[in-house]
Chain length 311, copies 2
């Protein structure tokens, strides 16, 4: 039996086990898509098409309490009997250690629960890699039978914001004292939220932040997103948040095609970006040298060299 | 005179004023490349080819004192009579306000000095946009006659790390207490440094961090980068750092082609990425819809849809 056939067989077995909900197989599958870029598509093609799991993106500036909120959402959906997968994307995790480690330890209280699966993902070593890997892990969790996937990312840069584009509903988590609306808006967060959450409701300025956010979202198309004041820590406002998420999930469960397509479009585009970057990496190896020499010699502008490189 | 010719004439005038070192024209040029993607290449083609200014990238995790260090480097190069341009890329700036604002205010002590030009850039609203805009601002500052360009970025994600690929020398700024080497290495920072700076030398653990970094860099090709302990605040170790930077700058000034090409290659590749992303944005508008429907119907895998999208 040649190597290709062996791999194919191994992938088939792995896909079958993942589809049965085998946690060890799921972990193995996730490790595979993280490390084996060649084999990952083969495995994913063997799974049922994505679109069964409901994906909730949770993003916002650092320190707004996203992990605590995710923790509450796990509890809420476990009470209603749903199986919950969590993907925590931490671009900062290799560095800031402390606080995030605390979060992970708290989330670890769920590890005895077989209906919860938590996976942390750090920034990949290649551009666009994180979005593609996230989209692949979602496909694996979906195939493994998780009903709800909570996707937590720190919304500090464009690439972090792009990661949540695969969600069916995006919660943007803010808190009092972040500065004026213009600043939050500059970070791109006001363009992507389906629900705005003002966390740490007990802090001074929470009410005025809600009022000013309501001013910003008013008139947004096709509908202005709700603004909900919560305290993830005390539980205040969480029921209201659940109602807002459930409103979207009901549309999803009733087969709303546009909602399903939104997530799939996000996955296709993010994967396409990665594909382009990988090709650029290959193409640039030899070609960029000659172009750089022409620029250095004053014979070519940078923008024109870039256009020739991608031709 | 038609619109195109007017624009051409305006660009010529602007390019001429920038080349004379006119600060207002430089500011106008930077605003133009930030906001007018169409016209930016026209302006840049009218400037002298890049490669005169020496570009120092300064990156590292948040809170390691990069801005204070940049401040010291400004002082050092002003004393030697060099004109210094600073580009501070703050993906977090719209949000964390406080600390960064303090940094900017401190840097503002240089604003009366006509030999220093400081520009902050926030994350752009499109993928890869920041790298391209940074590369364009460098071209403008270079043309305006700045001798040294200090490019400060927070090294937390892949895209932030890519921004410094246009530098002639990259300083990775670390500090004691960041966690073990493996963690710093995971963030990709151990692959990009030409000089490793352990800032906050007075903190406990500074010496042991230097020792463990020396262990990591030993054996790196083509030469192991220096590890230098400094206190940007007290000035300790700054002379040693200056010597390490000057060693590279001397190669640059003596016309080392490989060093010049390195920065140009970085600018070409980062601009090419942006070009690809923009094309993907255009191509995906109509095409992605049909592909998403095929994926939803189970007729196509995400990876295959992505490949068709970029075809």
């Amino acid at each position: 039996m040649d190597g290709g056939a062996t791999t194919q067989l191994q992938s088939s077995q792995l896909a079958r086990e993942i589809s049965k909900g085998n946690r060890r197989a799921l972990s193995k599958g996730i490790t595979l898509v993280e490390n084996d870029r060649e084999r990952a598509p083969t495995l994913l093609r063997l799974l049922r098409p994505p679109g069964r799991a409901f994906i909730v993106g949770v993003t916002g500036p650092p320190g707004t309490g996203k992990s605590t909120l995710v923790d509450r959402l796990i509890e809420i959906y476990r009470k209603t009997g749903h199986r919950v997968g969590v993907i925590a994307v931490d671009p900062t995790s290799p560095i800031t250690g402390g606080a995030l480690l605390g979060d992970r330890i708290r989330m670890a209280s769920h590890t005895a629960d077989r209906g919860v699966y938590i996976r942390s993902m750090a920034s990949r070593g290649w551009s666009g890699g994180l979005s593609r890997a996230t989209s692949q892990v979602i496909q694996l969790m979906d195939a493994a039978g998780f009903d709800i996937i909570l996707l937590e990312t720190v919304g500090i840069g464009q690439s972090d914001i792009e990661v949540v584009s695969v969600s069916h509903v995006v919660l943007v988590v803010l808190m009092p004292g972040l500065g004026d609306d213009v600043q939050v808006s500059k970070a791109g967060l006001m363009e992507i939220g389906d629900v705005y959450v003002v966390n740490k409701a007990d802090m001074e300025g929470a009410d005025s932040m809600v009022v000013s956010l309501l001013g910003v979202v008013r008139g947004m198309k096709p509908r202005s997103p709700p603004v909900i004041k919560v305290s993830a820590l005390s539980g205040e406002g969480l029921e209201k948040l659940q109602v807002a998420i459930e409103a979207v999930r009901e549309r999803f469960e009733s087969g709303d095609l546009e909602l399903r397509l939104r997530s799939i479009r996000g996955m296709i585009v993010e994967t396409a970006k990665w594909t382009l970057m990988e090709r650029l990496g290959q193409a640039s190896q030899g070609k960029v040298e000659g172009l750089a020499r022409q620029v250095a010699g004053g014979k070519l502008a940078i923008d024109d060299a870039a256009i020739r490189l991608v031709r």
